[in-house]
């Protein structure tokens, strides 16, 4: 018998945990689960957020240097391209290579035009952060009531 909402929450918590375990089991047992940089689909995973006057983009680019990356913007069209080079050391025997190398290109159509002159891009800990200010016309406006 459930006596409190907390009990129901706990039940769902347990169910979610089981679901995650099952996802892990059937998805890619013993293999990197979704974080492999595959050559066939060599595109970094990307998140897009809308934050007031800006769009914020985050992309996973582990092992890439600043000069391995290109960001191009035109209107609401954004293109991120780059190349991941091998960081295999000299004179070592290779046992396992899962991380993959190669070049990629990915393009996005943003929900609105952005001001390409004010775009900021930062690379930190293998994640590319882009701040894209919206074009004047696309900014949220406050309408005053007379």
């Amino acid at each position: 018998m459930f006596t409190r909402f907390g009990d129901i929450d706990r039940l769902f918590g347990t169910m979610n945990l089981l679901q995650r375990k099952l996802d892990n089991l059937y998805g890619a047992y013993g293999r990197p689960s979704g974080y492999k940089w595959e050559l066939e689909s060599a595109v970094p995973k990307t998140n897009l957020y809308e934050h007031g006057d800006n769009f914020e983009i985050k992309a996973e680019v582990p092992g890439l240097e600043k000069n391995n990356l290109n960001v191009k913007i035109q209107g609401n069209y954004l293109e991120i391209s780059g190349e991941r080079r091998s960081d295999a050391p000299e004179g070592y025997k290779t046992h396992k290579t899962e991380r993959g190398v190669g070049s990629f290109s990915r393009s996005f159509t943003l929900p609105a035009d952005v001001d390409s002159t004010k775009v900021k891009a930062t690379l930190k800990d293998g994640v590319l952060y882009l701040t894209l200010p919206k074009h004047e016309a696309a900014k949220p406006k406050k309408i005053s009531i007379n």
Binding site: T3, K45, E56, Y92, H95, P111
Partner: protein
Amino acid sequence: MDRAQEIVKQDERTVEKTHELYEATPAVDIYENDNEILLHADMPGVVKENISVDIDNGKLSISGVRKLKTEGAATYTEFSDVEFVRSFSVPQTIDVEKVEAELKNGVLKLHLPKSEAAKPRQIEIKTA
């Protein structure tokens, strides 16, 4: 005390441990030379403070927690906060005291030096 109250009281004592974060297996490259085993692991977005490397009884476990600050409403997301977890068997001949780790551009590089006894030795052949 009725039965319902009893159940509530018992629940408050049991602490359930559940992983809040999704677990992912990081992609790993492994290299070896005469002196060391070198391990490269992709861990984008993980900061130094959130990485732990443990070697115990021939088992190497690496774990890195990624917590990214997000602002605004998500239009779409392909990745989220995650815990990168992976473990390996390592030979007992690894010199645990001298293991070195570096983190750069979201890649963890782990140097596992072999102990002196395990290194290959050139044996001189004497002619009688």
